[in-house]
């Protein structure tokens, strides 16, 4: 495998890791606040459809993005209502939201576009176009660094850069701000926050809403940047891979970046199984590559390789004790 092929593989990795990273960070905010969210998939899917639909009909990808975030926020609101206000089962709520999104997107797509549950192809301003970073062209000929910069770092849609910038930002918010302190506290021991005179409900809702915004970005990226339009079930389990990555990352922002890049690499290799054969000389079944994130997560969860300890109040609705 030559250098250029490697760069192309890594480039694909970055493109495929981006939605995972966005969704993973979305889950991170929610779960750090003690609200489990297995509905990342559904929110992404709904956002993917609405962003594509609005981008198509308005011709503006930015309006599409807003619509995607909007619908994702609505679903987050339902999740908040179920798991915070009515203290229901967070897992069941997440599952229901994913199903709801799966059904509604096709239903509405069929009603609006009559193309069997998809949106028309997006073109021009209705899509996020790759951005060429400054000096990419000029530096291209510089050995090693030039191609690296041109092929790998430059030439992605804006959402990719946003996603990567969100990693340090999230770290900073979590560990350097008042909001982050309270957010982490509410996921570990909500009673401590409550008795300190801070609203558990407001904190958890804001976490769930941040989760909604990030899922919206992830979904919009899928339909308007990675691909050009919405197709039925286009998230294809990415929400669950993001969830797996979150566990893999032990609920930490920087680890989340590495975990999603790793899972993105698996997905990239799934498209180029020949590369593996070239490098290690053994044919690897594509099905195995597809299942690898899930298998690794099971292994991590089982504590065979480092133990993943979730936030202590995770999944538990907060009830004041007497």
């Amino acid at each position: 495998m030559d250098f250029l092929t490697l760069l192309q593989l890594l480039d694909t990795t970055v493109r495929l890791a981006t939605p995972l990273l966005l969704a993973c960070l979305a889950g991170l905010y929610s779960e750090r606040a003690g609200i489990f969210d297995i509905g990342l998939e559904g929110k992404m899917l709904a956002a993917a459809f609405f962003s594509a639909a609005f981008a198509y009909s308005t011709g503006s990808v930015w309006l599409g993005l807003l619509a995607g975030i909007g619908v994702s926020l609505v679903l987050s609101g339902i999740h908040g209502l179920a798991s915070i206000t009515f203290r229901g089962n967070q897992l069941i709520s997440g599952l229901a939201i994913t199903m709801l999104a799966g059904g509604m997107t096709v239903l509405i797509a069929q009603d609006w576009f009559k193309q069997g549950g998809r949106t028309p192809q997006l073109e021009g301003a209705a899509r996020f176009e790759p951005i060429t970073l400054p000096f990419a062209e000029t530096l291209r000929e510089v050995p090693f660094i030039g191609p690296l910069y041109y092929e790998l770092i430059s030439g992605h849609p804006i959402l990719v850069y946003i996603a990567f910038a969100l990693v340090p930002l999230t770290w900073w918010i979590l560990f350097r701000t008042r909001f982050g302190l309270r957010l982490r506290a509410v996921g570990e021991n909500p009673a401590s926050v409550d008795t300190a005179g801070v609203s558990v409900v407001a904190l958890r809702y804001s976490a769930v809403m941040i989760c909604g915004v990030l899922c919206g970005l992830a979904g919009a990226y899928l339909a308007t940047a990675l691909q050009a339009g919405f197709v039925k079930d286009m998230t294809a389990g990415r929400g669950y891979i993001a969830l797996a990555a979150l566990i893999f990352a032990k609920w930490r922002p920087w680890y989340a970046l590495w975990a999603t890049l790793l899972f993105g690499l698996f997905q990239a290799l799934e498209l180029r199984p020949d590369l593996i054969q070239q490098v290690i000389g053994v044919k690897v079944q594509v099905q195995l590559l597809g299942a690898l994130p899930y298998i690794l997560t099971v292994v991590i969860l089982a504590g065979f390789v480092g133990k993943a300890i979730p936030p202590r109040a995770g999944g538990e609705p907060y009830v004041k004790e007497r």
Partner: protein, 364 residues
């Protein structure tokens, strides 16, 4: 003091949840520009007014009984088995192996063999998450989700690379031998003059599903194992005090759960398509969650809820055939039922409890 009589808890709350889900679905249908009343009539006509309709309704209900019971048994041990889908996929693999590689003399023997195969493969796929939960503390919901995806990859591998007949382009097994074909309702109930259940896939597996409901009832409420499962589900610390092994109960209840989910595939694989195809489960594993929640984890409730969802599925297919309403409407209804009976339970329950409390005060 109970806030509310028991009957309200098991009948009224699911009913109200269902009505809420139905009302929202009606709004969706209106938004699409169709009439909810016409749609409902069409569903009833298509699913219940002809024997063929019933043949489909009961076929779907058979699937949902198995997966619903699977979820319900795990619920009793306070585990959320979200992996019914994967377990059913593996069950299908078990059925395929039993039917393809053992020369059965008669369908009844084949049915027993296939049931065992399906149950064993399904149980196998549930026992690993169960063991990891019991011994390593991995959250069973997450592991079973992961196992659904791993199962899909595995099934894909087997159908594409192992079991696909040579020269076939279809990721599916060969058709099972004649001797393994199960009698359909049409075979069983038609007389010389009238043909009943024409073309419908309902088959003898339905009775196995009903028997499974009865057996699960006995298991949960009349045996010492059921006593231990429920005790463990209510309080793990108390179970430990009583000498009930958490590992044993976790594993056994998931084995039962996985076996039930796996057995669903007798109906789809042996009873209907007579070969194993890639998407034979069609999400029935997830519908099992709605069915178990709606049926309050009681086998009789599961039975009724399964028939209700069978009706919705057949009715939904009719809608997709005759109107602009796609089949996905059913997925929406199912999601709403799960949302209201499972996650927003308190939204329905709290006002109801207030009403009952007010009535009681009125009495006193």
């Amino acid at each position: 003091m109970e806030k509310m009589p028991h009957w309200a808890d098991i009948v009224l709350i699911p009913l109200i949840s269902l009505i809420l889900a139905a009302m929202l679905s009606a709004l969706v249908i209106l938004a699409i520009g169709e009439s909810p009343v016409d749609a409902f009539n069409l569903m009833v006509q298509g699913a219940l007014m002809r024997s063929a309709g019933w043949g489909y309704t009961l076929y779907y209900a058979t699937n949902f009984m198995f997966t619903g019971l699977a979820v319900a048994v795990a619920f009793h041990a306070r585990m959320f088995n979200i992996g019914g889908e994967g377990q059913a996929m593996l069950g299908g693999l078990g059925v395929a192996y039993v039917c393809l590689f053992i020369p059965w003399p008669h369908w009844s023997l084949a049915l027993i063999g296939a049931s065992l195969g399906a149950a064993m493969f399904g149980a196998l796929w549930a026992v690993i998450p169960a063991y990891l939960q019991a011994k390593r503390g991995s959250h069973i919901v997450i592991t079973t989700i992961m196992f659904n995806f791993i199962a899909a990859a595995l099934l894909n591998y087997f159908l594409v690379n192992v079991l696909r007949p040579p020269r076939s382009m279809d990721p599916a097994t060969a058709t099972f031998p004649e001797a393994t074909h199960l009698p359909s309702f049409r075979d069983m109930f038609s007389t010389a003059e009238t043909i009943m259940f024409r073309g419908a896939p309902a088959n003898v597996t339905f009775f196995i599903a009903v028997a499974a409901c009865v057996l699960v009832w006995f298991l949960i409420w009349r045996t010492k194992l059921g006593y231990e499962i429920r005790a463990f589900g209510h309080s793990e610390t108390a179970a430990k005090y009583a000498g009930i092994s958490p590992v044993k109960i976790t594993v056994i209840s998931m084995v039962i759960s996985g076996a039930l989910a796996g057995m669903m595939s007798i109906n789809t694989t042996m009873g209907e398509s007579e070969r194993l195809v890639l998407n034979s489960t069609e999400g029935a594993g997830f519908i099992g969650i709605a069915v178990a929640l709606m049926g309050r984890s009681h086998p009789f409730g599961v039975f009724l809820a399964a028939i209700l969802f069978g009706f919705l599925y057949q009715g939904g297919a009719e809608l997709a055939l005759w109107t602009n309403i796609p089949r996905e409407l059913i997925v929406v209804i199912q999601a709403l039922v799960i949302l209201f009976t499972g996650a927003l339970d308190n939204m329905v329950r709290m006002p109801l409890e207030k009403i009952f409390l007010a009535f009681r005060k009125g009495d006193a």
